[in-house]
Symmetry: D2
């Protein structure tokens, strides 16, 4: 009998992979058995992730799907879109629990992959089996899930901000705008012109402003909750932080509501959720990703401008945690029957 679940991290040299390692290295019920990287195979993991010096002594290996089941019981795929889908069927056949952090299994409707991702999905049947790994919405389904499609970060921020609103149907259902501000780690570990420090620092730069892909999964999830077709436009902006994403979800109230009523609807919706914190205070009245850095929390709050019936809900996350690796481990924990917060009792840094 094994003491610990052996986990593999595929794509371990990127930021999401690195964040998975940061979490899993102190997870009480897992043992990191394999860390793959095509680019750095054979090199020490801590060479690429100097934060892990002295904590992980493994080297990166090439990903060998044939031997993976000898070494791992569960596998996290931190790979680009369009790559994971080639591995998932076999990994499932081998009996591994698969947590995929790409978009490859997030959408239920295969047609949407053509529209938003420019490819024909080769395994549409797996889309039905995959569970969208947002535990606040899919807790029960995640139990014993074998294929978890971990949400995108801007989608997570947007969905968490809007879910209580669409569930309670207090706003115009066709006019949701999620204006998202994100740190630079969201773009991954690969350098580019736009991520070059002198270009990226001090930028307040809209990007993918004409139709951000995460709208597809956000609409899927919000429509499910609303039991209606929800349209949402996500407009992301690169700002100077490294970690953090704030969604400012602007909507229009259809009826007058007191603030306390809105507060109650949101609080009720998220009652008992381990990683949701509802913000309402006088010193720090709104969510700010600064206060969740390093943790799996999502802070949710709102503001109303009554004279024109504008409601904005805010959600603040650490894009690498609740927006990626943290949420993946949270969903994994549920699927394995662990405590939801195993490995995730990480307290946000302050100041950071």
């Amino acid at each position: 009998m094994k003491d610990k679940v052996r986990v593999a991290v595929v794509g371990g040299s990127g930021y999401t992979g690195g964040e998975l390692l940061r979490i899993l290295v102190t997870h009480p019920k897992t043992e990191i058995s394999v860390i793959t990287s095509r680019e750095y195979a054979g090199k020490p993991v801590s060479l690429i992730h100097p934060n892990l010096r002295g904590l992980i002594s493994l080297n990166f290996t090439n990903f060998s799907i044939d031997k993976i089941s000898d070494k791992a019981d569960a596998i996290f795929l931190a790979l680009p879109h369009g790559v994971s889908l080639n591995y998932a069927p076999k990994l499932l056949d081998l009996g591994l629990t698969v947590v995929d952090l790409s978009a490859d299994f997030r959408l239920k409707n295969p047609e949407l992959y053509k529209i938003w991702y420019n490819y024909e999905h080769p395994y549409p049947d797996l889309l039905d089996k995959a569970v969208y790994g947002l535990p606040e919405l899919h807790y029960e389904e995640l139990k014993n899930a074998k294929l978890i499609a971990s949400p995108g970060c801007n989608a997570t921020a947007t969905i968490l901000a809007l879910a209580p609103i669409v569930a309670t149907k207090i706003t115009d259902e066709k006019k949701f705008i999620s204006d998202v501000k994100v740190g630079s780690s969201e773009g991954g570990a690969k350098p580019s012109e736009g991520s070059h420090h002198p270009e990226r620092q001090n930028a307040i730069r809209p990007y993918e402003a004409e139709g951000h892909r995460h709208a597809a999964e956000a609409e899927q999830e919000l429509s499910r909750i609303a039991k209606a077709n929800i349209s949402v436009s996500i407009v992301p902006h690169a700002v100077s932080s490294i970690r953090g994403a704030l969604a400012s979800a602007h909507t229009w109230l259809t009826n007058e509501l007191e603030e306390i009523e809105i507060w109650k609807k949101i609080a009720e919706f998220y009652r008992g959720k381990r990683f949701i914190r509802i913000i309402r205070g006088n010193i720090h009245p709104y969510p700010d990703p600064k206060f969740v850095i390093g943790s799996n929390f999502a802070d949710i709050g709102f503001a109303v401008e009554k004279r024109i019936s504008r409601l904005t809900t805010f959600s603040a996350i650490d894009n690498l945690m609740k927006g990626a690796a943290g949420q993946a481990v949270q969903a994994f924990n549920i699927s394995m029957g662990f405590n939801e917060d195993d490995g995730l009792k990480l307290v946000p840094l302050r100041p950071a």
Copy 2:
């Protein structure tokens, strides 16, 4: 006969005051004759503004309204709201040209001061005489203007983003949201809990999210252009930059429009405007305040998400320049019959 117009800067120790000095010290047609500061009277200006070491040898003085006309022909008031209004009438009587950078003369309707600023305006007649100092909208009125009410920075960003849209009536007129992201210099030179570096850096922090005051002047100006009542909600967010403000003005198109048509409407609206640059490109497709830092430019651009008829117009400014001191000098230049860009041929820094 004087060679140069003598100008006084009242409230010269703050950031807006300092930025006026940075501009005026190389302005070809002005001479800085008086710089006041209650707090630093008697001390060298360059003690507080070390960037001006070797460039300005004046000391700060106390503001003495009785003697000001001996020393200055024009005066810039960089004072808090509710202070300038006490000085303006006398300064006008003394024959000075007054450029007020506070909100005290921006609104035409005195009732709005009660609602938005919590005071009864003591000189409602002056509100009629004051010219709202946004030269792109009020060029003709600014000629020979004696009292210029220089716009707020978030208002400037919002108005410049939305003016061509409301002028051409292509969107829903009741649902404008200007989601603004601003640098820390917008809060002024006085330290506070929220501006403390460890608190402010990496923040993505909504503030005044339930009714930002600049909405009042933005609605006034946009309604004038639209010849209709325009409602706009301004939701500002503090981000990590020092300088820069980006307004992302989200609206809903009422008719299908090709991008080129939208581009033409915006370009036509701003044709010939010295400090407006229309952005449409493949490497940097949208405005970013990063590319106007240190200059008086406002970069304007847009994005359309056709499937849901969402139009976002962006405007990017340096909040201390086009959002404050630069715009004030631009309006002053017009009022004095100078070239619109005297003292303002400042090229944006890159990278910055």
Copy 3:
């Protein structure tokens, strides 16, 4: 029999206090029983430390020394210099273990308090009893210590960089310069002109450059190791980070030494030290505080310029962790007979 040691944090609203709480809230063998703040007494701790929302439900209280022994077994004093010394004698009499994070008990020679801190030390006998809380140098003395004087951050960085060098006597003993670069959190939570975000961000600002106080404790500790009088000049510089301190300790080799020999001397000196990591690599060849953020690690490395016999040793710490709260808990753990890393198995964030 108590399950957990009850700990009080006095001065809990500052950054060091907050960092102690971040650590102690997940410490397996302690229970936070009292958190004091003169300024915020009666208010929820999470109001001031929003990162701790949902994690700590205590309110701040006023510090009442008379009742403290009913509530706490150990006490952390996160107070300004000159304040702790008034409380320590009574707290010791009451039987509490005292961990003082101020400078009040760091120096053995009471004369030095007059020179460096401008006060006459009222309890010179306690200076003998206090243990300087740098576990890498005082591990044995810390066992059962009742009064721990936790080191200053710039002193910690300087001592850790130079200890192996002075121990092995390979350099000129009179010419040590520790050029330190530090983040803004080192200045504490109280806003000031210099910490105002627009002033502090992008600063590369020398401060206390004519005799930094931490030299006193660094010289005390380094002289003890060297068994000789060591002089060291600490020249700190404020840079843009929030967390992190790097000491670049410049020295002059008295004999030619191969790099491998220097490496061995440093590695030998720190053999078996839980929180020291010796850095020597090709991608990240020198220590950088970036890779220890959020953790108690100190990364140590060096560079030699042979042609002129210059040796620089570098040490990188998180100033709030190994430079303050983390080191305090580390020393506390040793004094209590706990594992040295209880509560400190915190993995550095990356990227951060």
Copy 4:
């Protein structure tokens, strides 16, 4: 007769090239006639430098040395080391004034190129003709100079900090350490792993710490001033700013000197220098690059720790201005008989 000197900028797409354009576009006596870029030939300059939108309408071209004399009277070479040297002889033959911003003509001793730059210099005779373009040291030689070797940024900062010290021989001549802190723009416009925003922001990262190349030119210039062999070790550190370099030059006084005497020696050395500002004040007592951003100023100051005879001189520059493009234009102005500050009356931004 030409009204303006026609200038070409070769390598116009990088940061130094861009900064030259920012300066030259408002220079009263030059006309930018050619801007070359191998990578972007045919594309608008403002596509790569969005700050220059509306200010420069030229496209980049390929560099054609044969036709350059038809189009330009002077040429700025903003090219990598080892490239300029191939063009310079022909350009000089063609009668152009050549300002080279690489290291290719900075060193007088050709042997040093083998040691520090790993190449044999093909035109050692030109090294004699080239003038090291630091106007504070070579003003007279720069008049009518045809080949100007513009200094490196870390060398400029180091030389300016140490020149008055070595000239007056008040310190140990063998033990100079210039601990330099620099912003990210110093690394140029090309992205790399180390310049990736999530890696570079918040870094306090030593680099080239075992023998920085700029020591060669610094030692050449300082030895010339001292009329003695000066050794200096330059240890650069990457910090979070975009622009700015601070050299903290640590030295050991050989005699006791009052601060006022040191101040006088420095002030005397730099008397009448247009771009040098000597810093001595109570609010901002030391130089900080923050206060020269965007300008050609170098701020010089110092600190003494008398008890151990340590003297640190500081120099603060904008690495793209006084450290590169600004200084190049300053030297060019002198060579052409223009005012030293033509095009350089740029006031530092504050805050920035």
